[in-house]
């Protein structure tokens, strides 16, 4: 990352607010965690897309049997 990462620390006891640059170790940890979370988010999105495709396929098959869209959706929930 090009920008310097900083953390804002709000001390609830004193009210003091401090902006502190990340250490190299914190940057590495932060980037690793964000990478991991991005992978989780991508997996979740892929899973949701797959479910939506299955649902669309099921709706199409029910429509072929003569059900209208509202009836098909009532079955699938």
């Amino acid at each position: 990352m090009a920008n310097t990462l900083t953390k804002l620390v709000v001390n609830c006891e004193t009210g003091e607010q401090t902006i502190v640059p990340f250490t190299a170790e914190e940057v590495a940890q932060f980037e690793a965690e964000q990478q991991k979370n991005a992978e989780i988010q991508a997996a979740l999105k892929a899973e949701e897309l797959a479910k939506a495709e299955v649902k669309a396929s099921a709706l199409a098959k029910l429509a072929a049997l003569g059900l209208n869209e509202d009836e098909a959706k009532a079955i699938l929930g």
Binding site: T6, L8, V10, F22, A52
Partner: protein, 169 residues
Amino acid sequence: MALTWVAIATTTLTSTAATISFTSIPATYTDLYLFISARNNQGGSGQYIRYNSTTSGYTQVRLITDGSTVTSPANTFTTENFMLAMDSRANANGFGVAMAYITDYQGANNKFTLQSSTNPDNGTDYNFIEVDAAGWNNTSAITTITLIPETNAFATNSTATLYGIKNTV
């Protein structure tokens, strides 16, 4: 008994910040309430909450809707709990709203949180409402709360306020 709400601390970012931490949270309340108005400065539609700098023990049941479809993604965030924030790719100058009610934060029990959040952005892919039941399987008192953006940093003018709640006779 009446509930007393006290604003323990509040902050508004005057520059971007990769994390916002409330530290030295006093143990003088029964519950905590966190109100956040946030925007990522580089992509990403979310933010995470971490307690006491601990990266384990988190559980979350999520319900998300874009107004037409409701989804309940699997609970896979184990390093912290997830809430929505405004995505920087959407709605220039818009900020998402998130709130978390944390029960018995200083008690020697596992901690439970009701979270709700939204990033309203009509007509885009970044327009959701999320409601969560979140847990932290840890019996330590919560003394630090850290907010972490989904990507890079929180944008300038993001705000966060921590309230303490207690019963008063």
